[in-house]
Structures are given as C-alpha cells and as structure tokens.
C-alpha cells in the first residue's frame, strides 16, 4: 500500500490538474477507490483551490471595468504625447530636411559659402620658399642698416644717428 501511495502521489497532482495520461488516470483512479490518505490529499488540493478561487471570482463579479478602460485610454493619450527630446527631434523634422525643395536651396547656399571662403582659405596656402625678411625700411630721422645673416637666421634692422656711429658688430 505504502509503495503504491508513493508512486501514486507523484501522479496525483497531474491527475488533479487534468494533465495525466490515460494510463495514469486509470492507475490513480483505481488507487483512490481504496486509499483514504490519497483521497484526503486530493480533497485538500481541491479545498485549497476553492479557497483561492472563490475570492477571486467574487472580486471579478463585483467589478465594473468600464472606468478601467477610460483610465487606460487616458494613459495612452498622455504617454503618446512626445517627450521634450522627441519634440525637439520632431522640430528638426529630419525627414522633411531631405525633401528636394529643402535640401537643394540649402546645398546651393552651402556651395556658395564654400566658394566665398575658399578664396580666403586659398590665400593662405602659397608658401614663400626663401622669403626676404625685410620688405622695405625708411626713416626720415635716422640712417638705417639691414643685416641678414647667412640663411636668414638672424635679421637686424639698425638705426644710426649719424655716419660716425657704428653698429658694434661681432
């Protein structure tokens, strides 16, 4: 009997849950006819189920769900409102930026700007391979001497007060 109860108890829940195979149903059914402990176990499972289910069914019967639907509708409307970031992105309206009537004039304006600024940029590009450092000098009060060392490493512009004064050169 005990061994039989032990093997049946493993199937008893499946039997209770209506998930047992036909063979299992037959085995358990026959066993229950002559086993009060297993009958008791089955009854307790039924009792627990009823005590669980009862209050739930009562709650469902009592409830009016129409206002629940109204709340859901309201929440969906609120959540459909874009966030600030989404609003900003929509303000950029990126898809419409790719419309011809938008990007063509924009591209034309950018090209014009590039052409204008290119002149300024290009002006900077020529390099002077061996530039003369001193372009010009003039003085109405002094004599001026320009000295450039080899390879243009040092350039000196010197002012003299008179022909008798000399540059203290090395």
């Amino acid at each position: 009997m005990k061994d039989s109860c032990s093997s049946i108890s493993k199937r008893l829940e499946k039997y209770f849950d209506n998930e047992a195979t036909d063979e299992e149903k037959s085995l358990v059914g026959k066993h229950l006819l002559s086993c009060p402990p297993c009958q008791s176990a089955l009854t307790s499972m039924e009792g627990i189920r009823d005590l669980m289910k009862g209050p739930v069914e009562e709650a469902v019967q009592k409830e009016d769900f129409s206002w629940v639907w109204q709340k859901i509708q309201r929440e969906i409307r609120i959540k459909e409102r874009p966030t600030r970031w989404e609003y900003f992105l929509s303000w950029l309206d990126r898809p419409s930026l790719f419309q011809k009537r938008v990007w063509m004039p924009a591209a034309a304006a950018i090209i014009i700007l590039v052409l204008i600024t290119a002149q300024l940029l290009l002006k900077k590009t020529p390099s002077y391979p061996d530039p003369t450092v001193v372009v010009y000098t003039e003085s109405q009060t002094h004599n001026v001497m320009v000295y450039e060392s080899g390879k243009g490493m040092v350039t000196v512009i010197w002012l003299f007060e008179g022909p008798e004064k000399e540059l203290p050169a090395s």
């Binding site: 829940e13 499946k14 849950d17 998930e19 008791s40 009854t43 307790s44 499972m45 039924e46 009792g47 627990i48 189920r49 009823d50 005590l51 669980m52 289910k53 009862g54 209050p55 739930v56 069914e57 009562e58 709650a59 469902v60 009592k62 409830e63 769900f65 629940v68 639907w69 709340k71 859901i72 509708q73 929440e75 969906i76 959540k79």
Partner: protein, 204 residues
C-alpha cells in the same frame, strides 16, 4: 488564432485604439483574475490590469504570432503582477470585514463560530499565498484560478513544464503545511463549509 483575432491584433499594431478596446473586452477579466489572485487587493489588481493593457498597446508590434495571443498576454500579466508584488511593501492582513459577500445558509449564520472559521480560513489562505515565493504563487494562480494547462503556464511564465510542475508541487505543499495546524485539511472544501456537514452536525 482565429482570423478575427488576427485582424484585431493587426489593427492594434497599427495603433487602432478601437481594436485595443475589443481586446480589452475579451481579456480584461482573465487579466484581472490573475492580478487579483497574485495581489489580493482590488486597487492594486486594477492598476495591474491598466498597466498590462497600456504595455500591450505599446509593445504589440513585437508580437509576431509565433505563440498564441493569450499566452503572450498572460506572460505580460505575469511579469507585471510579479513586478508589482516586488515593489509593494508588505500589506497587513485584511480585516475580517473583507470577507463580506459569502452567502451562507441560515443554518450557518446561526453558528457564529462557523462564520468566523470560514472567514479566518480565507485569511489564512491569503496569508499563506502571500508567504509563497512569487513564482510558486503565480503557478497556483494560473492553475487554480485561471485553469491554464501546464503548457500554457510554461509559456506564460517563461519556463519548462517540469519547472511548472515543481512550482505547483512546492507551492501546494507549503500551503498545506501552513494550514494543517489550523484546520483539518479535509474540511477545506467549500462544499463542506456551506451546507452539508453543518446540517449533519446540527443533526447530531
């Protein structure tokens, strides 16, 4: 999935709120049963229902039809309900007044100790359920309240059938343990409480 349901889902995926309303009308009670079975509180259960259908509307585009729609909905309900139970603080037991609504026979009402016992039993079952881990509690609710098959439960809970059976087994075992010191388990059947045994006892 029926053609009508597939059409309804398709419309809902396009953002049609009328389609969502129809889905709501079909399924809201099932969702509420699961929610209430888990949390045993009206307001919280209604919050869960609301949250489930809002989530459904926002995520239904992800439903590809590989599973049945109601298991997809149940899965959402299970996850939402478990999230709620994790978030909420421990709720003190309901007062005995919450047990209103039970229609007992006159004979029972004349036996105040029996009325109290029934209400207390419901409280005890509720307390026992609340002590259970979420996954075991959900298993008992899906099976006992909603009557899902093992396969459907596995899909809703995102686990194997073996795990479903294990959760049911241990959940039931724990509840039996907690209740056995309080009342004879053979007396737990609602049928016994309402009429027959009492009249028999009266007849003694």
């Amino acid at each position: 999935m029926s053609h009508e349901e597939a059409e309804l889902i398709s419309q809902c995926q396009k953002g049609d709120q009328e389609a969502l309303k129809e889905i709501f009308d079909q399924y809201h009670k099932r969702v509420y049963r699961i929610a209430y079975g888990m949390v045993r509180q009206r307001e919280e259960a209604l919050d869960i229902v609301q949250e489930v259908f809002i989530k459904l509307f926002r995520s239904i585009r992800n439903f590809k039809g590989k599973s049945k729609f109601y298991t997809y909905l149940y899965r959402m309900t299970v996850n939402t309900a478990i999230d709620h139970t994790r978030r909420r603080e421990k709720i003190p037991p309901l007062s005995l007044d919450e047990g209103k609504g039970i229609q007992l026979s006159e004979e029972v009402e004349s036996r105040p100790d029996r009325i109290l016992l029934h209400k207390e039993l419901k409280e005890k079952v509720k307390e026992a359920m609340e002590k259970l881990p979420n996954d075991q509690r959900m298993a008992l609710v899906l099976r006992g309240v909603e009557g899902l098959s093992y396969q459907e439960m596995a899909e809703a809970m995102g686990c194997s059938i073996g795990t479903v059976m294990s959760r049911l087994h241990y959940g039931r075992k724990r509840i039996q343990e907690w209740l056995k010191d309080y009342v004879e388990l053979s007396d737990l059947r609602a049928g016994h409480m309402g009429s027959a045994p009492i009249k028999e006892e009266n007849g003694e």
